[in-house]
Amino acid sequence: MGGEVNGTMLTAQIRKQRHGPGAAPFALDVSIEVPPGITILFGGSGAGKSTLLDCIAGLARPDEGRILVGGDVLFDSVRAIHIPAPKRRIAYVFQTLALFPHLSAEENVAYGLLNLPQEQRRERVGEILTVFRVEKLRKQRPGEISGGEKQRIALARSLVTEPRVLLLDEPLTGLDAELKAAIVDDLRAWNTAKAMPILYVTHNRDEVDALGERVIALDNGRVVSAGAPMEVLNAPRRKKLAQAAGFENLLHATVLDLREADGVMRVKLGESACEIEVPLGYAAAGSRVQVAVRAGDILLATERPHGLSARNVMEGRILSLEHRGAMVIARVDCGVTFVAHITPGAARALELTAGRRVWLVLKTHSCHLVD
């Protein structure tokens, strides 16, 4: 396996039960392979992403399993091997970054190099601060540094130790897309020579599309699919994942026909005559699937709209309008009932009332396949 052609491979089979007062019992049971390059670990909160990373880093101990980097065994429950975290040479950038608040940027980055002679240490710290474009902040403390720059320093601190694997737990949340892309570019550039396996955790679908060479989708402690981003995200997923991500509309549908060239398929909703276009999934014509749609992703129009890029326009009638805070929840009957969220202003401007005829507009990629 690993270590032969280019770089090393991280493999992990991990089983871990978690129980305790206040926490719902939860079992992590996964088997993953992370080749050199960026692999995205995708899943909602509570899917077990952080537990998995903690086990790989040596901060938590699996009940059973094996963890290997290249040919080196880091954990093996059968042979009772558990290499402690400080000896694993696995870098881990936490969601909170965990920069040491009492140390300057430079001292933070030098922390993993304390065993090196001072001269060498200074050289390597200077070098990596330059690579990540934060050399001018070397004397500043984390409290005086902005978000994006803190993230760069946290990356530099982890990578300066020349780790064998890099774990990133949503390290770039809260950054705008441009800044995020710039940091990821610098990370990729760094990794072209090192060919290190990088496991990048996110619950954000946009990041998956932007970064991923490979994706592992985790749900409720289990790997639900793995592969290229398009395959994984468009593959039928289990209902749990959709619900966890907050989909208000969950509709039964029958697949009518597949249009592989366009990456879509047509489905009929429930027992109605209502047909919509959804992203292509692993499903045959005639098979039954579920479609999940966020109420906030649905547009309402009082006249039949024309000239839209959205592929799904359905005529229906408003069943009820419910005002809830700064939101109006509209239930619309199109043969099946949809729930749509609109603003009170929009509801007034369109003079929406129960019984009124409306058209629902739905983008193909706002429809998510489940099961």
Binding site: R88, Y111, T161
Partner: protein, 222 residues
């Protein structure tokens, strides 16, 4: 003035010893996951609720020529422990133990656990993590522990009276001195001493509160 000097020396020795002993104990109490931990926590807190005379009584018994500690001391050094300055230090260490350990526990527990994880994945063992991360971030707690155990020892009376007796220059501390003055109706002298103790205690507590409001910690969030 001899009594004041003695009290200050005693308090300084006790504070220093308590920091040295208190840190490993507090570290263990803060991070251990052992279920029976509460037992040790209760023992540490015991001097808070026990009358000083009870503590002093058992300390005296233990240090007497027939007590275990007294016998050991005689075997090692050729003289007993009761009514000596060393005996006073040992008894005071027990008496002020919670005042050192509890602020240390609180400040160790206040350190973000992810910082400890970060230290570990960067290759640092437990000892390096303690010196480089936990201790610097717990500095206000360390100062509080030192200052509180110093101040508490400075003002102790019951334990000193039981263990130390009242030997001028050896075991007669400020609080004993004040008591003596009052007994012999020298209210003026008693007042001078009492006032001095009051001022010192106030100064010391001001240090504790200032440190805990992070007046001087440079890395406080801005």
């Amino acid at each position: 003035m001899e009594a004041l000097w003695l009290s200050l020396r005693l308090a300084a020795c006790v504070a220093a010893i308590l920091l040295a002993i208190g840190m490993p104990v507090a570290y263990w109490l803060a991070y251990s996951t052992w279920r029976g931990k509460f037992l040790l926590e209760s023992i540490v807190a015991l001097p808070l609720v026990l009358p000083p005379t009870v503590l002093g009584f058992y300390a005296l018994v233990a240090m007497g020529p027939r007590g275990p500690l007294g016998k050991l001391w005689i075997a090692l050094f050729g003289h007993g422990l009761a009514f000596t300055f060393t005996g006073l230090i040992i008894a005071s260490v027990f008496y002020s133990f919670p005042f050192a350990v509890q602020p240390l526990i609180a400040s160790f527990e206040g350190v973000d656990p992810r910082l400890l994880d970060a230290s570990a994945v960067l290759g640092a063992g437990a000892l390096r993590t303690f010196w480089r991360v936990i201790l610097p971030l717990s500095l206000p707690g360390v100062v509080t522990a030192a200052v509180l155990s110093f101040a508490h020892t400075l003002g102790e009376f019951g334990v000193v009276l039981m263990v130390g007796g009242n030997l001028a220059g050896v075991t007669r501390t400020v609080s004993i001195d004040i008591y003596d003055y009052v007994q012999s109706l020298e209210y003026g002298a008693a007042n001078r001493m009492a006032l001095l103790l009051l001022v010192i205690s106030f100064a010391v507590l001001s240090v504790v509160y200032a440190v805990n409001r992070r007046v001087w910690t440079p890395w406080a969030a801005k």
